[in-house]
Amino acid sequence: MARDHLVTRRVARWLDQRLGSAKLARTALGKVFPDHWSFLIGEIALYAFVVLLVTGVYLTFFFDPSIEEVVYRGSYEPLRGVEMSQAYASALDISFDVRAGLVMRQIHHWAALLFLAAMVVHLMRVFFTGAFRRPRELNWIIGITLLILSIFNGFAGYSLLDDQLSGTGLRIAYSITLSIPLVGTWLASFLFGGEFPGPDIINRLYVIHILLLPALIIVLLTAHLGLVVRHKHTQFGGRGRTERNVVGEPVWPRFAFKSIGLMLLTAAVLAALGGLAQINPVWLYGPFEPANVSAASQPDWYMAWLDGALRVFPPWEARAFGYTVPNPFFPAVLLAGGTFALLYLWPFLEARFTSDTLEHHLLDRPRNRPVRTSLGAATVAFYTVLSLSASTDVVAVTFGTSVNGVLVAFRVACLVVPPVVGLTTYRLCRELQLRDEAAGMAPPERPRIRWELLRVWEWHARRRARAAPTDP
């Protein structure tokens, strides 16, 4: 044992003489992290990404993204002798003929679902506790970008397999691209290498899925974590915790052990799911034929809000001067663009509407910011209803009702549920605040919200009034 110890020390000294690593490592191991269960959600996203990388690299050894037509000769009996693309055939090979291939494929898919889910919940944690305020606006922007890239990468991933379901998804993606005014037809042609299905799309998606987007995600993830180190983690208020300090435990040894444990447990849950819970059984869907479609074509959960929006949006489209803005543009392009634009802008909008541009390191309790919390809850409710709308056909079949009736119900719910959730949340926040006051806690300072900024028509007059005193 003692000799072993000596060797590690000698290696450490050798490295230190070349890198000066001892000082660095000491700072790193001494970093203080506040402890709260909600801070683990982002870690889970990180570890799901690690699992994605490991399983994904394994899958690339066997997957062949070619649309060349082959006749299947593998061991899955029902499809033997069927003509299909090489991509789909190699997905079948991974599932049936590569030992441990199926479990890796399923872990990969489950990890993608968990990765996106953890990211969204992490986003909600940051939003509802105000962790995006100065000085963390840039990290918020990086985080939103990571979410967008990951959604695209998830879609690209399950579209590679060239089965009937993913082909239908690609066709919808093609049509959405086509719907963009002015440049849509060009964009669609550039993306697919021609008209749908296009000769190049699977190959291009493969490069995008395994190289382009993962590289971007890794770079941004590094920046995301680097900024957490730079800013030091936020913390909830409590005894001894102020805006000027951070109270928690150092990385070494307890936090590091716990975090490694969390990584292993995340991977364990994903492994169990990958082994026991079937996901995306492409062999049941069959190879993609453009003229076919199957009922109950639902996307992965993080695309469901878009699919739902496509369903509930009324049959409207804009036509003028012989040009058309087709129907899918509004629910798919405009809604998605607006959603992410609003997310990007939120820290700046909130700072403007509350005149609060100070640094904040202490987190808000959601109840103490009732307006933000209720707006956030209403937004979450809206996208939840949209996501559920993606299942109108399944709901109608399951309960034996009319699809039309279910769809109309979801259209109404899209308009009614968010305001109800928002107002209920507002009321709930107020009641919780009153309870806090009754328990003898001083109410925290609350910024005044400048609602008058919503009166857009007064902006001009206000700017003039502001400019006037400086005039001679």
């Binding site: 203080v32 000085p135 669609a188 021609g194 109270v247 307890r254 490694i260 049959p315 040009y323 058309t324």
Partner: protein, 329 residues
């Protein structure tokens, strides 16, 4: 799992929101620290070691399963056991045997001080002066960089062909035979009452590459539904003689986002798209009656040739499939 141990259980819960006075909560000692219960420490040690042993067993199980031919459920289970036992061991180890000592670290202002900003500006502007003195060089360098950037955009054009008439036209035309996916020509009596048949324009077999017969269904935008509805189709203006022998033909591509309109409800004469539930009335020019689609399915004029095979009498009445910017131009 690891949530509550950061907060001192004696601290008032509501204090989460207020900025704090007073010292942080005191440390809690590890299980094998001075004054700890030796039995509890022993039990904790056994628990952690059990986790690691379970993990070892899982890893061995995984190797054996793989060696003996593999089995997805067992592979997942043993991998989960190997990872989970190790993870649980680490978490328990840290919680029971490592000191939990809250540490206070001071935060320093993120922004630089005024002097630092001034010094940086002075040093940077030394370079700036050099730049601004040679205006010609700066401008020509800017021009060169801009031109290079613009020139590098041109290779993007290789990504795809110009979106031309292909979006608006299909191989259909006067006299083009309708064929099934197996490349068989269709007679009017091949479609029963209330029946539906998916057909395509016949692709002329290329004598140069005679080995592989062309596969009609690869023409993604020209799949067509040949339907014999049981009712009488309402006459559509300007479309006299577009049907033959009780048969009508409509594009199979939904005008919403282009999914194949795969479901025909014969009793109501409705075509339903399984993707987003757009519904089209076959007896009324395939007009959309429900769902997000805004335009009817384009109709294909059909007739019979001398031998009784169904042929197209022209192209679709409108570009098939989803809408796009210059669709009507």
């Amino acid at each position: 799992m690891t949530g509550s141990d950061a907060d001192d259980p004696e601290a008032p819960r509501g204090c989460l929101g207020c900025s704090g006075d007073g010292p942080p909560p005191p440390a809690t000692g590890p299980a094998d620290g001075p004054g700890a219960d030796p039995h509890a420490a022993r039990r904790a040690e056994v628990a952690v070691a059990t986790g690691f042993l379970a993990s070892t067993a899982g890893a061995i199980g995984l190797a054996v399963v793989y060696w003996r031919g593999g089995q997805p459920q067992l592979e997942g289970l043993f991998l989960a056991l190997a990872l989970g036992g190790l993870g649980l061991g680490f978490v328990l180890w840290s919680r029971r045997f490592m000191p939990h000592q809250p540490v206070v670290e001071a935060r320093h202002p993120i922004a630089s001080t005024e002097e630092e900003i001034d010094r940086f500006r002075d040093e940077f502007e030394q370079g700036e002066v050099i730049l601004t003195r040679r205006k010609l060089l700066v401008r020509t360098a800017g021009l060169a960089v801009g031109a290079l950037g613009a020139a590098l955009l041109f290779p993007l054009r290789s990504l795809g062909p110009r979106p031309g008439k292909g979006l608006k036209e299909t191989p259909y035309g006067r006299g083009v035979y309708l064929v099934t996916a197996d490349n068989q020509r269709v007679r009017a009596e091949d479609v029963n009452r209330d029946g539906v048949l998916t057909v395509f324009p016949e692709v002329a077999a290329d004598p140069e590459e005679a080995e592989e017969p062309p596969r009609p269904e690869h023409q993604a935008d020209s799949s067509t539904l040949l339907i014999r509805p049981s009712g009488t189709p309402r006459p559509q203006r300007g479309r006299d003689g577009w049907t033959v022998d009780g048969l009508v033909a409509y594009s199979k591509l939904c005008t919403h986002v282009g999914c194949p309109v795969g479901l025909y409800q014969a009793d109501t004469h409705l075509l339903l798209c399984p993707c987003h539930q757009s519904t089209f009335d076959v007896l009324d020019g395939a007009r959309p009656v429900f769902g997000p689609a805004t335009r009817p399915l384009p109709q294909l004029p059909i007739g019979l040739d001398a031998e009784g095979y169904v042929v197209a009498e022209g192209d679709f009445a409108a570009p098939p499939g989803p809408g796009f910017w210059d669709r009507d131009r």
